[in-house]
């Protein structure tokens, strides 16, 4: 960031475009990890998303007011980030929906339904004591 401070706007755009491409690649990898959302893959994915978020933070500070082809290349990379980001969100949502479905089914099997038809929460505080 200190390096970008004294540079002309176009040079900063170059850095920005490179960072944006890296962020996009990280998000693309995260999508691939999420196609098989095992605990291990989700862990890897979390690291990649954290790195991507760090890259985006850097992009915010580098975001230049520039013109021409370089600005276009940065915009193009940012649009690609948006697409991948939407993909990550969708994959996370669908994985969560799948696991949420299992949780609901488990809740229904153990605690039944509430009056409005939603899966009831198992009561964990009560104890069952059997005396023989």
């Amino acid at each position: 960031m200190a390096r970008a401070e004294g540079q002309p706007a176009d040079a900063r755009v170059d850095d920005g475009a490179v960072i944006a491409q890296r962020v996009e690649a990280m998000l693309r990898d995260a999508c691939l990890q999420l196609t098989a959302p095992t605990p291990g893959n989700i862990d890897v994915c979390r690291n990649q998303l954290e790195q991507a978020a760090e890259g985006l933070r850097r992009l915010q500070t580098l975001a230049p007011a520039s013109h021409g082809k370089r600005r276009e290349s940065l915009l193009s990379a940012l649009r690609a980030i948006q697409v991948q980001n939407t993909g990550v969100a969708k994959l996370l949502e669908s994985a969560a929906a799948f696991h949420g479905g299992w949780v609901n089914m488990a809740a229904v099997m153990t605690a039944g339904y509430t009056a409005n038809g939603a899966p009831a929460r198992p009561e964990t505080r009560r104890r069952l004591i059997l005396e023989v």
């Binding site: 999508c31 691939l32 999420l34 196609t35 098989a36 959302p37 095992t38 697409v83 939407t86 993909g87 969708k90 994959l91 669908s94 994985a95 929906a97 799948f98 479905g101 299992w102 089914m105």
Partner: protein, 479 residues
């Protein structure tokens, strides 16, 4: 002796059980890649062991249980339906988008640009015959570009209509297969893994065409519903759906001459179009009933291309007819340049043409004023390219900008569909992976099972051998 025989009997039973278990493992491994196959397990059950009561124990084979999970299956089918919608939208929108290239010099924007450019040249030399002829030629080209664009969009509509008929036929064909599978299942073995795989593979294929729900009944048959409420298969009954291109009785056409929408009709004759929201069929309905009508119109709207064609033609004609071809005396009023079929608002762009009777000399350039301006009309026409008055605009936009907004809308929809399709392909892969974790065949797990059952088989065989030797020894002891 009786104990030895009962041990022999128990071991022989165990051999049979482990033989069955090995067959189940073998079947799992063989079908690891079979579409629709779910892992099977043979449940092993302990026999009562009370030697004093004559119960020798041992193991018996329980039911062969399928690891198939309906929740996981429904998740995959749901994602397949979403994929089907996006595949259809992406494919059709891409085809439509090709006709709306705003950067090109060809097509409607190029033709309109040339037309207004030629009018501008004519306004500089209003009496020049060549300039007048150029205006007529470019007007002809503009009309043809509208005809071409609507013709292409019309072809896209025909193609989607044809696809919709094919999709409905496919849905009915697959429903027919499922009805047959139901009959086999009710009459035959409910645990037939091959039949089970075929049923689920067929359901998966079906889900790409529409949003389906499959409910397994007590008799083992599968009830299949389209969009959660339209029955396709119930037991050994099949309920065909059909596609109809007609205006519904409750919503009569509001635009004369417009094509009716596509409707999906169930076996009872009910219109179920509104319920279909996923699958290729939903994508086709969206393109046919919403996207294309917004361009070329239907029974309920004129369509933006027709609106643009009509507005351009009307405004150009109006300006020309307000001017004079010659100032006389007597002054000769201007005539219309464009003609179209006004009786059908959805056919304006398709019928747009340069008036067959107009000649270059009949282009009215003179604005009668006062004051009279020799090239006043030509200038007003040239200004249509960059309008300043609301009368020269459509929805507050110049003609070029209005066309640009149409193209941008289609481009944006196409781009979104393409991006969503890529993501949805990953979501389908994810759903399949999750299902595989629940019910798929893990070759590692099957290998472990194989070794486990093989060892158990060997151990039981050893017991049989030992019992056999003991029996022989006992026989030898006998005097």
């Amino acid at each position: 002796m009786s104990d030895l025989f009962s041990t022999l009997h128990t071991s022989a039973n165990a051999l049979q059980v482990y033989q069955q278990a090995l067959e189940v493992v073998s079947n799992n491994v063989t079908n690891a890649s079979t579409p629709g196959y779910a892992r099977q397990n043979l449940s092993l059950e302990a026999m009562p062991f009370q030697p004093n009561a004559g119960l020798p124990g041992g193991v018996t084979a329980g039911e062969v249980q399928s690891a198939r999970d309906q929740f996981a299956e429904q998740s995959v089918r749901q994602q397949f339906s979403n994929l089907g919608t996006l595949e259809q939208q992406s494919q059709s929108l891409s085809q439509i988008e090709n006709n709306f290239n705003v950067t090109s010099d060809s097509g409607i924007p190029g033709a309109l640009n040339t037309f207004f450019s030629n009018i501008s040249s004519w306004s500089v030399t209003p009496t020049d015959v060549a300039a007048r002829q150029a205006v007529l030629n470019s007007a002809q080209q503009a009309a043809q570009s509208f005809q071409q664009a609507t013709s292409n969009a019309g072809q896209a509509a025909s193609s989607v209509a044809q696809q919709m008929q094919q999709t409905v036929d496919q849905i009915n064909r697959l429903a027919g297969q499922l009805r047959g599978f139901n009959q086999q299942r009710v009459l035959g073995d409910r645990n037939d893994s091959g039949l089970d795989a075929q049923i689920n593979s067929t359901l998966e294929q079906l889900s790409e065409y529409g949003d389906i729900t499959a409910l397994t009944q007590a008799d083992g048959s599968v009830t299949v519903l389209l969009s959660g409420q339209t029955p396709l298969v119930v037991g050994d009954h099949q309920y065909d759906i059909s596609v109809s291109f007609s205006t519904p009785a409750g919503a009569p056409a509001t635009v004369a001459g417009g094509t009716p929408p596509a409707r999906i009709i169930d076996a009872q004759g009910n219109d179920v179009t509104g319920h279909i929201s996923q699958g290729q069929l939903a994508g086709q309905l969206d393109i046919y009933n919403n996207v294309l009508p917004s361009l070329i119109g239907n029974a309920y709207q004129q369509g933006d291309l027709n609106l643009l064609a009509q507005t351009v033609a009307d405004r150009v004609n109006q300006i020309l007819q307000s001017g004079n071809i010659s100032d006389g005396p007597p002054a000769v009023p201007g005539v219309a340049l464009f003609a179209y079929n006004a009786a059908t608002p959805t056919g304006v762009a398709q019928s747009l043409a340069v008036s067959s009777t107009i000649t270059p000399a009949q282009l009215a350039a003179i604005d009668p004023g006062p004051p009279e301006v020799a090239n006043g009309i030509a200038l007003r026409l040239a200004n249509l390219a960059n309008p300043t008055a609301p009368a020269d605009e459509i929805n507050g936009k110049s003609y070029a900008a209005f066309y640009g907004s149409i193209a941008a809308g289609i481009g944006s929809q196409s781009s979104n569909a393409q991006n969503n399709l890529t993501t949805q392909q990953q979501v389908v892969a994810q759903a399949r992976n999750l299902r595989s974790q629940v019910s798929g065949v893990s070759l590692d797990e099957e290998a472990a099972n194989l070794i486990e059952f093989q060892r158990a088989y060997q151990a039981t065989a050893k017991v049989v051998t030992v019992v056999d030797q003991l029996t022989q020894s006992t026989i030898n002891i006998l005097p």
